[in-house]
Amino acid sequence: MNWNGWSEFIHMGGYALYVWGSFGVTAILIAGEILLLRVRRKQVLKLALRAVQYGKVKNDEDAA
């Protein structure tokens, strides 16, 4: 495709809905997956930290 400005590029020879619908939804899904991965990681780190701290308290109590 030769570059003849943004409007022609976005127009995609009349197939804008189909082309951008494909590339756009794919981009959104990938961004969504990366976001979900971050959320899951944060949650699990929180849980694991809690388990570690709980273990520490318990060990201290056992020692005391």
């Binding site: 570059w3 995609m12 189909y18 494909s22 794919t26 899904l29 699990v44 849980l47 694991a48």
Partner: protein, 247 residues
């Protein structure tokens, strides 16, 4: 035998650290390949004389469809290794691959529909290729739903592995469907045996995008397997030591 100790890396503790080091590199490779692939897809590949600009959808559709099948095979492979050797990490890898595989299967169905509407005049037809790809999507969802429904992780692993293994029969059906049945879907764009019917720049664009999808899938599943490892081993000694070192 080999000097490299594979068993060392089959321990979740070691693999957790290794995966953490690898993830950024695979993301970086995916971004780089994606930028190059998109540039080829939109600016280097010429307009198709029959399909106009709409054919550019294949630069997403074909890599996504390839990866949807390939990831399923890898997932079933990990499930088989898990069942055979009872290695926890193999089951975790299978679980980590499923959401990414499902997402790419959906992408291939979605982009296929958006290509089909202007070219065939229909969003969807019940032909063998499309239907078997839809079944692949349901297999991924079934695998994830089954694992989520069973509380005991070891039983969830085994049940999921069985679905993954039984379902793998669907992959050759998808792949060869265009040969075995008269489908509206066109035949393979890229073939090992005969020279490609496509312009080589289009082929290169598709291959670069496929490599980008591959790198992304590795990055995403390694990142997910780290969370799965932590979820399952959060009471293990090594997790406590690692987190205390970071605190």
């Amino acid at each position: 035998m080999s000097v490299f100790n594979w068993y060392k890396f089959s321990s979740p503790a070691t693999f957790y650290t290794l995966a953490g080091k690898l993830v950024p590199w695979f993301y970086a490779a995916a971004i780089l390949l994606c930028v190059v692939g998109l540039y080829i897809s939109f600016f280097m590949a010429p307009t198709d004389f029959q399909q106009g600009e709409a054919y550019r959808i294949i630069f997403i559709h074909v890599p996504a469809a390839w990866m949807s099948m390939f990831i399923y095979i890898v997932m079933a492979g990990w499930a088989a290794i898990g069942l055979a050797f009872n290695t926890r990490l193999s089951f975790m890898m299978a679980s980590a691959l499923a959401p990414t595989g499902a997402m790419l299967t959906f992408v291939s169905l979605w982009t296929g529909a958006l290509w089909g509407k202007p070219m065939w005049g229909a969003w969807w037809v019940w032909d063998a290729r499309l239907t078997s790809e839809l079944i692949l999507f349901f297999l991924y969802l079934g695998f994830m739903a089954l694992q989520a429904a069973i509380d005991d992780p070891r039983r969830a692993d085994r049940a999921g592995a069985l679905i993954a293994l039984v379902g793998v029969i669907n992959v050759p059906i998808i792949y060869f469907s265009v040969k075995w049945w008269n489908t509206l879907h066109q035949g393979a764009s890229v073939s090992m045996t005969k020279s490609s019917s496509m312009a080589s720049i289009m082929l290169i664009g598709m291959l670069v995008m496929a490599l980008a999808a591959w790198m992304y899938a590795i990055a995403a599943s390694l990142s997910r397997v780290r969370s799965i490892i932590l979820e399952r081993e959060r009471n293990a000694q090594w997790v406590a030591q690692m987190l205390e070192a970071e605190l």
